[in-house]
């Protein structure tokens, strides 16, 4: 399900989890990449580490929250209050992301939902709050409520999660480009360096193209 305007020269896979604060901090910059570089950004929504057997000790959980708060402040993004979406909340957001990708609203949905979780403390398991977010992202809320039950969307998420493991990685946000992995919202600068080195920076005269696929 590709939504691009002309073929791109290269692909960048974007592995994202709604339970990862760093994924949230990366989202807007990630979705802006195809406007600057001649790439297709391939969406890979994955299950969180805690939902695939990765240990997450308390010290690490605390560090992540505090460090993400510092980074969010530096990026001028809202951070806190938050509401941990682990479990059904994560699945809802991931399934709607697959639906949104089919309707060219992926970036709007991901940024809206992640900002609500990490910047406004919205419980995405609640139908009223969830429906409101879908509408804000320009999606049909009734269709979204049906999307969260679709097994093919859940299978796609499982494939994405397996793809991350196949590439030899475990964390998010991760970008895969040209055989290399870039892990972390603060590694986008290194990814951009590689994209420029590969001659993928679009010229000033080139019209920006929106290319995001799932």
């Amino acid at each position: 399900m590709s939504h691009h305007h002309g073929p791109a020269s290269a692909t960048v896979e974007f592995f994202f989890s709604f339970r990862s604060p760093y994924s949230y901090l990366a989202a807007a910059r990630a979705f802006a990449l195809p406007q600057q570089y001649d790439i297709e950004l391939v969406w890979r929504g994955v299950r969180p580490m805690a939902m695939r057997g990765q240990p997450l000790p308390l010290a690490k959980q605390l560090y992540i929250l505090r460090d993400a708060a510092r980074e969010a402040d530096a990026l001028d993004l809202p951070f806190g209050p938050m509401y941990d979406p682990i479990g059904e909340g994560v699945w809802r957001c991931l399934c709607v992301a697959e639906y949104a990708a089919e309707h060219d609203r992926l970036a709007a949905w991901v940024i809206t939902a992640a900002t609500a979780i990490w910047g406004r403390g919205v419980d995405v398991r609640r139908d009223d709050a969830f429906v409101e977010l879908c509408r804000t992202a320009g999606l049909d809320s009734a269709a979204c409520l049906m999307a969260i039950e679709r097994s093919d969307y859940r299978e796609r998420v499982e494939c994405n999660t397996a793809r991350l493991a196949e590439l030899g990685h475990w964390g998010v946000p991760t970008f895969a480009f040209d055989g290399e992995l870039y892990w972390g919202q603060d590694r986008i600068v290194d990814l951009e360096h590689a994209l420029r080195e590969a001659g993928l920076l679009q010229g000033a005269s080139a019209s920006p193209r929106r290319r995001v696929s799932a």
Binding site: P57, A59, P81, M82, L181
Partner: protein, 232 residues
């Protein structure tokens, strides 16, 4: 009812409170200023492992940053680090090497030249030698130079004699013999965990933790905020 209250506390109240309190720097700022009024320099503690390529960025980088600000940097070598039974430990080590090379290239450095991960056992002697040095300044000098030689100098292997020579040049002493610092190194790891961190290279400033290899600019900013006379 109790279940939903517990759910609310766990999912929203506790993590949101952690985030909110992490932004309150007032008490730490006063503690740091009191320290300076008493004539004590600001202090940063850095816990690191020689087998960690990120330490090759963190230790020399933090040493430069602290030296420029007359900040007391204490280094604590580690033999044990990380998360117990971490299934991703192997791939983590490989990724760290690639990522540390890119981070190193960001500055004016040429990047790391070592292509293979190093085991903790293979470089344990460096941790013992470093820990055995009595003077904090000697520890820092040796740690910094040994890490650069190990990770950034393509000519260096893992020969003890080459590092022993470096030790003699920097400290004027022979390296400690044997593995006598095991207990002290275990205490470093215990201190790291007790104070709230688990991994290398972890820098602690006024109770606030930073992964030093990727947060040098943020540490510098915080140090400047804590300086006496700096605007609040």
């Amino acid at each position: 009812m109790i279940g939903s209250l517990r759910d609310y506390l766990k999912r929203r109240l506790v993590p949101s409170t952690v985030i909110a309190t992490s932004r309150r720097r007032g008490p730490a700022r006063w503690r740091m200023r009191c320290r300076q009024w008493l004539g004590q320099p600001l202090r940063v503690e850095l816990y690191f492992a020689f087998d960690d390529p990120y330490a090759a960025i963190a230790v020399p980088g933090l040493a430069r940053l602290c030296s420029a600000r007359a900040v007391d940097l204490r280094v604590y070598p580690l033999l044990q680090r990380g998360i117990a039974d971490d299934p991703a430990a192997g791939v983590r080590a490989l990724h760290a090497l690639q990522d540390a090379t890119r981070l190193s290239r960001r500055g004016d450095h040429t990047g790391l030249l070592r292509c293979e991960p190093v085991t903790a056992d293979a470089v344990a002697f460096l941790a013992h030698w470093c820990e055995a040095l009595a003077m904090p300044a000697d520890r820092l000098r040796f740690a910094s130079a040994a890490l650069e030689a190990l990770w950034c100098d393509g000519r260096s292997g893992l020969q003890r004699e080459a590092f022993a020579q470096l030790h003699r040049q920097l400290t004027g002493q022979l390296p400690a013999s044997g593995d006598a610092q095991g207990a002290a190194l275990a205490r470093n790891a215990q201190r790291l965990r007790q104070r709230g961190h688990w991994e290398s290279p972890a820098a602690c400033l006024a109770g606030e933790w930073f992964f030093a290899h990727e947060r040098l600019a943020q540490i510098a900013q915080r140090l400047d905020q804590y300086r006496v006379g700096a605007p609040a």
